[in-house]
Amino acid sequence: MALLSFLFNSKPKTAIAAKERLQVIIARERNGFDGPDFLPALHKELIAVISKYAKVNADDIKISLDRQGNLEVLDVNVVLPDVVPGS
């Protein structure tokens, strides 16, 4: 493999990664650094609501804000605890 890459002089195409990373970070910074300031409050309330129905820890809920093109995507990821059979 090393010989092949030597022969064809193939270097990784990293410019695409640079562009994508820049688009994300600059979109975030233009929106006033750490994103909208309701995120921490939203996080707390989500925990409260979900805790009514399932046993979750604060760490089991992950919230992130990303930008894809012109869309802002709010990603909420909740890991529900394994249900122990018979309990």
Binding site: K11, K13, R21
Partner: protein, 271 residues
């Protein structure tokens, strides 16, 4: 009224002073009476790039503090009769750069008949950089096709849009131009470097030119000649194009495409 242009970038080492020197020289070569001011108090280098370091007697802070007049302080360029350099102070504290003082100096330069005032900004987003952009009518944002430079350029654009006089007075905004420097078409083609269209897409401001990476820039600074004077070099043509576009000419981009050398070229290449 003189037109004030700030050359800025946020990040250091991207080519602000090189670009200020060549841009101001290019304006003067086109017959416009031009002055280029070094705002980097404490770390002046425009004098070295312009090759007038041994003729510095007074500086910008002396003028602001009324210790010297502009006529005594301005240094006439060795190449162009209608180009003058206003050096920064090497010793004083940069807080000496007061907003009132800078405004007064710029107004006086306008009264002296200068058509263009080019402000070479220091790196960073501190006081000196803010003073350089405060009174600008137009801004040239110098950016390398590299992540940290692009991010810092975006940051400095935000500062122009918040802190410049034009922004604060709510009038016509500062006219922004993107200047991509140290561009290597070969690496862009290979997918290793951001293309100028990538940079433009991210920063969303109009492109005024592309300066290719070139050995002549170091030769130029070694000798104290602005790179635009290195005859026959790509960099010289690229800066002349920048000046032309700034003055309203519609010029196609050059030095943005890599042509693969043919077999014979590859065999006979080398020095």
């Amino acid at each position: 009224m003189a037109r004030i242009i700030v050359v800025t970038s946020g990040k250091g080492g991207v080519g602000k002073t090189t670009s200020s020197a060549s841009f101001a020289s290019g304006l003067a070569m086109r017959g416009h009476k031009t002055v280029v001011i070094d705002f980097d108090v404490g770390l002046r280098n425009l004098d070295l790039i312009m090759g007038c370091e041994r003729r510095v007697v007074y500086d910008l802070i002396n003028v602001i503090n009324n210790e010297a007049g502009l006529n005594q302080t301005l240094i006439k360029d060795k190449h162009c009769d209608n180009l003058f350099v206003l050096p920064a102070s090497q010793t004083r504290d940069k807080d000496a750069l007061s907003e009132e003082g800078v405004e007064r100096v710029l107004t006086e330069l306008g009264k002296m008949g200068f058509e263009y005032i080019v402000c070479d900004s220091p790196a960073g987003i501190e006081h000196g950089a803010v003073m350089a952009l405060t009174f600008a009518d137009e801004a040239i944002i110098v950016t390398n096709p590299e992540v940290s430079s692009v991010r810092d350029s975006d940051r400095i654009l935000g500062i122009i849009q918040a802190k410049s006089r034009r922004a604060q007075n709510g009038g016509e905004p500062v006219k922004e131009h993107l200047l991509v420097t140290r561009y290597v078409p070969k690496r862009v083609d290979a997918g290793e470097m951001l293309s100028y269209t990538d940079v433009q897409e991210i920063l969303r401001i109009p492109l005024i030119g592309i300066i290719p990476e070139s050995e002549s820039v170091l030769h130029a600074s070694n000798q104290g000649n602005p790179a635009i004077h290195i005859e026959g070099s790509d960099v010289s043509y690229a800066y002349q194009d920048v000046v032309g576009r700034f003055l309203g000419e519609d010029l196609p981009l050059r030095f943005t495409h890599y042509e693969k050398p043919g077999l014979l070229q590859r065999i006979f290449r080398g020095k």
